[in-house]
Amino acid sequence: MSSRFLGNSIKFNNVYIVSTGTTCGPLEFQGPLGTYFDKGFNDHHCGEDSFEKAERKMLRDSLDICLKREKLKYKDIDIYLGGDLMNQNTTVHYLAREITKPFIGIYGACSSFALSMGLSSLLIEAGFVNQAIAMVSSHNATAERQYRYPVEYGVQKKPTTTFTATGAVSTLLTHQPTQVRVESLTLGRVIDYSQDDPNDMGRAMAPAAFDTITTHFQDLKRSFKDYDLVVTGDLSTYGHQILKEMLQRQKIDVVHYNDCGCMLYDTQKQEVFQGGSGCACSALVTMGYLYPQLKEKKLKRVLVVATGALLSPMMSAQKESIPCVAHAISLEVVE
C-alpha cells in the first residue's frame, strides 16, 4: 500500500478521473453554469409521474452519459458508491437494482459528493478495485417535501434559506493515468456549534467547513496559496461570509475562495435566497464546471470542501441542534 493517513488526510498517487456525466433541472440549466452541464431538464418531473422517480431518471441519465463517453457498460465497472438526500438513500438504492454490480450507499447529506469520490479513491489507491463510479443526486421537490414543507405550501421563507439544487452527477475513477487525478482526501469530523435553525444551513455548516479546511492545511502543510481555487459545497452567500471571517480571525490568508452554492445560480436574479445547496450543488460545479478547466489546464489544483448538515427533521422537532460535517478532496492536473 503506497499511502497512509496523515492525521485525517491521505494523499493519493494512483487515482484518476476518466469521465463524468452531469444532469440538472431547469433553474440550474438557466443559471450561469448551465451551458457546462451535459443535460438539462425543462421541468422538475423529467417526464416521470413523481419527483422521486424524476430524481432517479436524472441520476440514471448522468450514469449513462458518463459510461457512454468511454463506451462502457454497467457490468464493466468494479464497484459503485453513491448517495442522495432521501431517507434510505432512495434514489441511489432504487437505481442500484439496475446495476447488477456491488453497490455501497453512503450518506453524508450534502457532503456525499466528496465522500463518495473520496471512498472510491481509497478503494482504487489500495488496489482493491480498478474502476469505481461515484454518484450523487438531489432534487429540490423531493428534499423540500422530506425536510421542509409541501412544494405548493404558501409560506414566506427566511432570508437565510438555501435552495436545494436539482441535479445528478456520476464520475468514473480509475487507476490508469488520465489528465486529472484525485490528489488527496481529508475526512471531516462531525461538528455541532449548537445551531438549531433548519432554515439556516450556511450558519450551521460553516464551523464544519472551517474544521476540515484547517485540518487539511495542517495535515498536508498547505495554505490557500497552494490551490488555484478552493470551493466549499453549499455554505451559500451568508455561510461563506461567516467562514471567511472565521479563517481571517485565525490569521489565515483567504485567497481564491468561492462557494459552489453561489456559483451555481445567479443569486441576484434567480430566486434561490442565499444560494444553492444539496449533494448536486458541489457535484455539478466541480464536475461540470471545474473539471473541464482542469482538463484544459486553466486550473492546476483545486480543493473541494463539500459541506453537509446531518439534520433529521425529527430531531429538529425535539429541539436538538444540527450536527454538520465537511469532507475535502483535491483535484490536480497530471503533468
Binding site: 405548493e152 404558501g154 409560506v155 414566506q156 421563507k157 451568508y238 442565499q274
Partner: protein, 147 residues
C-alpha cells in the same frame, strides 16, 4: 473560536429581513382578502335574499375553493411569498395547507397518500381549535353559573 463568539460573529453578518415591507404586504394582501370576503358576503345576501348568518358559509366556501384552485394551479405559493401572513392567517391559508399536502402525497395513492397526509399541516389547527373551543366553552359555562 468558541460558540458564544461564533454566535456573535454570525449575528453580525446575518442578512437583514424585510420586516417593514413584509408587514405592509401582509396588511395589504390580508386587507384585500377581507374586502373581497365582505363583497362576497353582501353579494350572496342580495342575490339569494338570505340573512348574514346564512351567507357567511357561502362566502367561506367560495374563499376556500379559490385558494384550493390557485394552489392546484401552482399560483398560490407565488402570491403567498409576497403576502406572508396576509394569505396565511385567513381561511385561505388553511385551505392551502390541506391542498398542498394532498398534492404532495398524491403519488402515494388515495389511502396511504392523500387520505393520511392531507391534515399533516392543517391537523394541528383543527386539534388545537377544538381543544381551545372546548376550554373556552367550559369557562363560559362557569361564568354563566355566576352571571
Amino acid at each position: 473560536m468558541d460558540r458564544k463568539e461564533y454566535d456573535r460573529l454570525a449575528e453580525e453578518l446575518k442578512p437583514g429581513g424585510h420586516r417593514v415591507k413584509n408587514g405592509l404586504n401582509a396588511f395589504l394582501y390580508g386587507g384585500v382578502i377581507g374586502a373581497i370576503a365582505q363583497g362576497l358576503l353582501e353579494f350572496f345576501m342580495n342575490a339569494y335574499h338570505c340573512s348574514e348568518k346564512d351567507a357567511i358559509p357561502m362566502m367561506t366556501i367560495t374563499l376556500v375553493f379559490v385558494a384550493c384552485l390557485l394552489t392546484g394551479l401552482g399560483l398560490y405559493d407565488n402570491i403567498a411569498k409576497h403576502a406572508g401572513a396576509g394569505t396565511f392567517i385567513p381561511i385561505t391559508g388553511f385551505a392551502n395547507s390541506m391542498t398542498s399536502s394532498a398534492l404532495d402525497s398524491k403519488s402515494e395513492g388515495l389511502i396511504m397518500g392523500i387520505g393520511s397526509n392531507m391534515f399533516k399541516l392543517g391537523g394541528t389547527v383543527i386539534t388545537y381549535g377544538i381543544v381551545s373551543a372546548s376550554l373556552l366553552g367550559v369557562i363560559r359555562y362557569v361564568f354563566t353559573l355566576f352571571g
